[in-house]
Amino acid sequence: MTLQTDWRGMLNPAVRDLPPSGIRRFFDLVTEVKGIISLGVGEPDFVTPWHIREACVYSLEKGYTMYTSNHGMLELREEIARDIRDTYKVDYNPRSEVLVTVGVSEGLDLAMRTLLRPGDEVMIPQPSYVSYAPCVILAGGRPVYLKTSVEDGFQLAAEQVEKAITPRARILVLSYPNNPTGATIDRKNLLEIAEVAAAHNLVVISDEVYDKLTYVGEHTCVSSLPGMRERTVLLNGFSKAYAMTGWRVGYAAGNGDFISAMTKIHQYTMLCAPITAQLAALEALKNGRREMRKMIDMYNRRRRLVVDAFREIGLPCFEPRGAFYAFPDIRSTGLTSEEFAVQLLNEEKVLVVPGNAFGEQGEGFVRCAYAASLEDLGEALKRMGSFVKRRLGRGKVLTASFRKPEQDEGEGMRQTV
């Protein structure tokens, strides 16, 4: 007798009911189309600098193919602590307060699982990176979305946190520079948010994977703020700054008790981050500054070109100050984000990601990664130009709600209409 197994019925409901990633859904559409220029890739177009790759090859030749300490190689943790100290003047003990993870992705998952009890609430600013809410849900928590908008430069404000406080509120996620908007957050806002976090005893998980990719002003490390070192889980990695996405290596830094609890999960589920990646990360931290700066200069130049081009095309574009994304406002076309992305793909073979893939708040925008060559960017922008022209040329009457309120060029507002 064969037993008919109903796998859907066997699934953990939390997993079964997790909506598929909006990006994933879009991806299936894309694989059919040939010859597209993609501005949909959330990773550097550069290959990892050669000195880093070469160091890894050498380590393989030398036979470094084994497990490392669960915490990650001490030498790497020391370099990570040194880097944080040199950059932000925050001290972490490399022996007890740093854990090497398989990317920020693992750090995020571990942090949620280490902290959350069933039903605990995690505040997540929106729009933001697609993994936060699923990680919260899978860890038994409940995501609470804090909506940021273009009018506020996509910056979270302390009052929003204050308003969302409930007896179950435990964690606040901060994610600046931000994916998908490219927004950074002003120090002043962070200081106010820090006060609210302290008043309500929130843990802050700060994903600073784009910290080095800050083009306007200076990045403020959340744990460098008064009183914040103790309540912050600092997540960072090598994927973006050193063009090392495929290596899968990152780290978490924070309170020693927390890190050792987190290490327990890591030890049983991951054992350790790959040694090849750890050795490459070590080389990146020791000798990677120059190459990193070069890549960042290039992103910055493309950033200005792209923002300028969108405004020229007639799409208002908030000035992204970090990461490598521009987030133009496409509401004047009369299309939804998804319609815009799908039609642009079909008509012009340019791929952008609909803003609503990053939460409801992203509706009306599309994410364009400018981690692409100047040639590709130029061509993509030209095609987007003709696409938008056709849409605007159709004489669609803009309804009042599609029009933005006039904005001053005030602090944190770089909206040019």
Partner: protein, 159 residues
């Protein structure tokens, strides 16, 4: 100034307008910097890097180590000049170490190069000796990897 020159060095076709946007500067200012750099010969020229091998063009190049005896008052410079005035000579550099000048030469055929070395160069006054090395293959040229196989291997869409 430096940033403008670096950008032009990476791509000579960039317009003043594009450079200005990329650097967040004024177009007129950038145009002025370029003009001044040209006038002051900071910018020596605008070239195109051509892969002649790919075209199948017969081109032979060689590097030649040259030992010379320096001349009173002008040192190596006068001899270097006599060499670099030949149009087939692509570059001449004064070196530290076992020889004095390194001369890069490009000719149509091996015979032409050999002819240049023996009849023009080796026999030149103050040239003590030469050692010629023919180029078999160029892998990288002016910072550009010839036939770079490293293409974009990213997934087309990623969060």
């Amino acid at each position: 100034m430096r940033e403008v020159l670096e950008l032009l060095e990476s791509d000579a076709r960039l317009t003043a307008g594009q450079i200005a946007t990329m650097l967040g500067r004024d177009e007129e200012e950038v145009a002025r910097i370029i003009k001044e750099s040209e006038e002051k010969k900071l910018i020596q020229g605008y070239f195109t890097l051509v892969d002649w091998d790919k075209l199948g063009a017969e081109k032979v190049s060689a590097v030649i180590e040259v030992k010379i005896s320096p001349q009173r008052d002008v040192g190596f410079d006068a001899v270097a000049e006599r060499i670099y005035r030949f149009p087939e000579v692509r570059s001449v550099r004064l070196m530290s170490g076992a020889y004095d000048l390194i001369v890069m030469i490009e000719g149509g055929t091996m015979k032409e190069v050999a002819h240049f070395v023996s009849f023009k160069l080796a026999s030149m006054e103050y040239v003590l000796s030469t050692a010629t090395h023919f180029v078999l293959k160029t892998y990288k040229h002016h910072g550009v990897i010839i036939d770079d196989k490293e293409e974009d291997r990213r997934q087309v869409i990623m969060p």
